[in-house]
Symmetry: C2
Subunit: 223 residues, 2 copies
DNA sequence: TAGATTGTTAATCGATTAACAATC
DNA sequence: TAGATTGTTAATCGATTAACAATC
């Protein structure tokens, strides 16, 4: 019990310490490690190699890895598997998060059917829609549920996350239903802002963000 | 001709000057302006109001807007419409970009059917798959085309962007086909890295990035 | 051992914030 | 006019990079 609590504190403390930029790089390191493990049989990788790949400074890599407690060996580098596992653990990919998807349109269907979420600890447990014509349809491995069932399912299955893929005008009521049912985080793909109590974690996923950065790079490269 | 070239240089110069953080904030300002125009009839907004909304410093907002040439008025603020339009122009949303989607799975289908891309200047002109069973199917408003038709369509319609939604192992050959056909940018949703010539703009969209940040916030908030 | 690579402190750089004069 | 808000310079802060000692 004691050591569990101590570990908990350690993790929370760690979390408060890393910067947003470090968090973003950790995610990239993770993908690089995964790719590397697939393609290259060597068990270790140097900070320099990671840095080259990502076009950043090698000191940065060592600092970032040190920040989450990953140690390397002089003259050897870092154990690829170690790095990957520790980042997974730090980012929470080793935990189990249950989620429901609200909105059974194209995007909701794609998200519900996306089998790689399991790699990141996310398990989509049900798909909802308030359109009676969609309720009962099978999309991927889910049968679309009516919104009335959300409260029961969230509580019975201890669901923590709601993924919102409804049209903008339906986002606020859907979010409210999810909050009332007891979810703790909302991942918003609807293109609008929602109001939630302060204890709810909300993240907005704007497809336009990725697109804007792509167009910007494209125009910059075109010069 | 002369003034066109001068304008071109001005834009390129501007582009080289703004930082990655400013670019990210511009996208957020854009969404805030769009929301604001929907909900609030007043024609102006102060840097302070934008800053409050985004929980940043108001000087930051004025600096960012000044960086792309937006001027405000003392005692008045900024014209909401002005700000929105100039950001759209700067980010390239006012231009027309033609794209093809390669991979007619759930995600490819969702992207091909996503009607809000028009707002950002992206026009999905065709959907491709190399699986004969998918060719000919209608997904949203597109009939799935065989990969053999890609070269023709890209050249006839002057397509600049390829959106990759194929499985990881199919990504490299699909990217090669797109590059050979003459596209200039690839927006990669496949979860792998691809190799491309240096003149091709590539952006990777990792769904795990958004998820990792959500889980991180969730765990940080839980403390 | 020699030397490659880590880990860490110090220096630099750039981004954010504070201060305030300009202005409508 | 008075005062709210912009625009901009200077100060601060934090992130990145350089330098180098520790180490396997």
């Amino acid at each position: 019990m004691r050591s569990e609590a101590a570990r908990e504190m350690y993790i929370v403390k760690n979390m408060a310490e890393i910067s947003k930029t470090t968090l973003e790089r950790l995610i990239l390191y993770y993908h690089f490690m995964s790719d590397h493990l697939d393609r290259d049989k060597s068990a270790t990788v140097t900070s320099n190699k990671i840095a080259d790949m990502m076009e950043i400074d090698d000191t940065q890599v060592r600092k970032d890895l040190a920040a989450i407690g990953i140690k390397g060996l002089p003259r050897v580098g870092f154990y690829t598997e170690d790095v990957r596992n520790r980042i997974r653990e730090f980012l929470g990919f080793e935990d189990l998060y249950r989620a429901v998807v609200i909105g059974a349109g194209h995007l909701g269907g794609a998200i519900s059917s996306y089998d790689q979420f399991a790699e990141f600890g996310l398990h989509i447990t049900a798909l909802f829609d308030n359109n009676p014509e969609k309720v009962g349809l099978t999309i991927g491995s889910h049968v679309v549920q009516p919104m009335e069932r959300l409260l029961d399912i969230v509580q019975q299955r201890n669901v923590q996350i709601a993924v919102l893929t409804v049209p903008a005008e339906a986002a606020q009521p859907a979010a409210q239903t999810a909050v009332d049912a007891g979810i703790r985080a909302i991942w918003v793909f609807s293109s609008t802002r929602i109001k939630t109590p302060p204890n709810i974690t909300v993240r907005y996923e704007h497809i336009s963000r990725g697109l804007a950065e792509l167009l910007y790079s494209l125009n910059a490269n075109a010069s």
